[in-house]
């Protein structure tokens, strides 16, 4: 699999899907993201790595304007999706978020049944014409989220009654079900066991065929396995950004080097 993804890396078109220039984020007085410039390519998996609290989630949330919901957060800079400024006044964040989906760091299933959790996105976006189609979408999404076998018998049970890892997979399935063009995943495998992790990684690889995926991870191995591009954040700065292979084998910045050669988790 590792080899395979290496191979495919060169195949992806190099279209730039999202372009971020001089990005700054402030939480009140704290300057959480400083001067970050990143290009996210289409049909590519981009990994964000960096120590905890360095601003990965914050930056990720900028990409689909989820920071709008935090009253103290202030975002500056240019963020473009397909060349269009997503912070433009004319842009509807709702439409943006339909295109740029997100899986959150803390699993947050709705207090609804498992089925309704997954069907929520397709319903609001009108992706299914009828119940049968919706059932199909839900099943596909749960399969892709590697959860189908565990929950197929209790689709009506509340999503909140699942184990931590199951909840996380449910949230992945929920995000996948809306078929976003860009999928932002904040530590999607943190609560997953190796087997489930492998399934999610397979999913990511599959998604890359048509979409672009951004993934925050603490596992260097995971970044190396699934991503083609890697961005290393440190204290709110983007220290290094480039081909994953290059970053892991030949980092330019000493901070990157010391981070990835530190003890490996």
């Amino acid at each position: 699999m590792n080899d395979m993804s290496r191979l495919e890396r060169t195949v992806g078109t190099k279209n730039i899907k999202m372009e971020c220039r001089d990005c700054q984020v402030y939480y009140g007085d704290t300057h959480a993201i400083k001067d970050v410039n990143v290009d996210i390519e289409d049909k590519t998996v981009t990994a964000f790595i960096g120590p905890s609290g360095c601003g990965k989630s914050t930056f990720l949330r900028c990409l689909n304007r989820m920071n709008d919901t935090i009253s103290v957060a202030r975002v500056e800079g240019q963020f473009k999706l397909d060349g269009e400024d997503i912070y433009d006044r004319r842009v509807d964040p709702v439409q943006l978020r339909a295109k740029v989906g997100m899986v959150f760091q803390k699993p947050n299933p709705f207090p609804k049944s498992i089925y309704d959790n997954v069907a929520y996105g397709p319903r609001i976006h009108g992706l299914a014409r009828n119940k049968a189609e919706l059932d199909d979408i839900v099943e596909q999404a749960l399969r892709r989220g590697a959860l189908w076998n565990e929950v197929k018998d209790r689709l009506d049970a509340p999503g909140t009654g699942l184990s931590g890892g199951q909840q996380q997979r449910l949230c992945i399935a929920r995000a996948v079900a809306t078929e976003p063009e860009v999928l932002l995943m904040d530590e999607p495998c943190s609560a997953l066991d190796p087997i489930a992790t492998a399934q999610v990684e397979e999913l990511i690889d599959e998604l890359r065929q048509s979409y672009s995926v951004v993934i925050v991870t603490h596992s260097m191995q995971q970044a190396a396995r699934v991503s083609q591009k890697t961005a290393f954040f440190h204290l709110g700065n983007l220290v290094e950004f480039g081909e994953t292979g290059q970053i892991f084998t030949n980092p330019v910045d000493p901070r990157t080097e010391s981070y990835i050669t530190g003890r490996i988790g």
């Binding site: 689909n64 989820m66 919901t69 964040p93 709702v94 439409q95 943006l96 978020r97 339909a98 295109k99 989906g101 997100m102 899986v103 959150f104 803390k106 947050n108 299933p109 709705f110 207090p111 609804k112 929520y120 996105g121 609001i124 976006h125 509340p158 909140t160 949230c171 929920r174 995000a175 809306t178 976003p180």
Partner: protein
Amino acid sequence: MSVSIITLIVLGIAVLGFFLGRQRALSLSASSGKRLHSLPGYYGQMVFLFAAVPALLLMTAWLFMQPILIEGRISANIPDSVIPEGGARSLVMADVRRIAGGLDALIADSGMTETALDQMRADETDVRSQLGNVGVALGSDVPVQVFEAAKEYRASSKTGSLLMSIAVLAVCGLFAAWSLLRISPDQRARNVSEGFVLALLVGASLVAILTTVGIVTSLLFETFHFFKLYPAREFFFSTVWNPQFRGGSELGILPLLWGTLYVSFIALLLAVPVGLMIAIYLAEYASKAMRSVAKPAIEVLAGIPTIVYGLFALITVGPFLRDWLAQPMGLGNSSSSVLTAGLVMGIMLIPFVSSLSDDIINAVPQSMRDGSFGLGATKSETIRQVILPAALPGVVGAVLLAASRAIGETMIVVMGAGAAAKLGLNPFEAMTTVTVKIVSQLTGDTEFASPETLVAFALGLTLFVFTLGLNVLALYIVRKYREQYE
């Protein structure tokens, strides 16, 4: 010693006990090297509770029992001869108490000595005018026996109070000392004090039960009387409500029940959507400043006396609906109507729905909203499909509360919907509700022991049972749709 002074002393001892207990726990743990089971404060609390609670309980019981015992003894000593014809022993005792109180005032004000008082005799001095001088008015002159009884009452009360002071303070001190001595590092002081708090909590929830028991018993007796005078079948199944002064009334509850449901339904039809939308807007859309102004402002609606709403219904809304809706549509020309009362009541109920729901909606964790926004949902979709379901149990509670208020409201219905009991569908007709009739039958001119008055109790009890049924149903529904987040 007066009750308040004793209370203060007991509380003083208890507070002292708190510090001593804490201190002792700390020093014991220091000297024995053992860790305390609980925080030192809990040992203090324990001593405090042991010192204060039994003593105050004793005092309450004593205060309750002492007059009963003393009066029992003294009233037995009063000869029948001084009890005026048609009067009652209890009235004479009231005089005794008043004179006894007057004697205290006499000593305090005019500096009379106790011995002088002992020698004072009702047939020699004009007790009435003397007491009148110190501001204690008596209805008539005082017979000798009554005066002696009053003196004895005063003496007994004094001894009683003295005994009580001693007993209460002794209990307080003993329990304080005992609990102090019992302190040891492994004593579970927190559990003791928490057990006590739990008992308080249980007690508090029992108040609700007791209230119900009280209501049912206070209604049951007279209801029973009513059904002895009036056939229950008629009451429950007759469709005519037409009380008469001279008996021969028709007292069917059905039109009233129908009116209650109709008016409440219209009120909720206005209050629930509007209230919910206000709650949603304030919790999800409004700026902080707007919310902090609008929410309390709308709460004022709940505090406007219902009579104001009633007048509003009578003078403004009723004629408006009649002139602009009812008459043009040919639905009648009554200015008081179910619709009038319902709409005005709906306005009153808005804050019940809006404020409570707003708090509940606000309490739904942000991560739920994030989850939905992250999927590309609009705010309204998020609210309708994620937040409201999550907040449902609380919102239902708010709606039930509003419905309850609607059922219990009187003034608005009287002025808005009129007093005519009618079974009909036309919302522009006058109707009335159970509550209105409870009030009017109970406060009317009719004699008390007639079915026309007693029907109020039967109405009250029936309404009670009826709403109980509705509530059981509501509980069942809420249970079924309850969703818990996280």
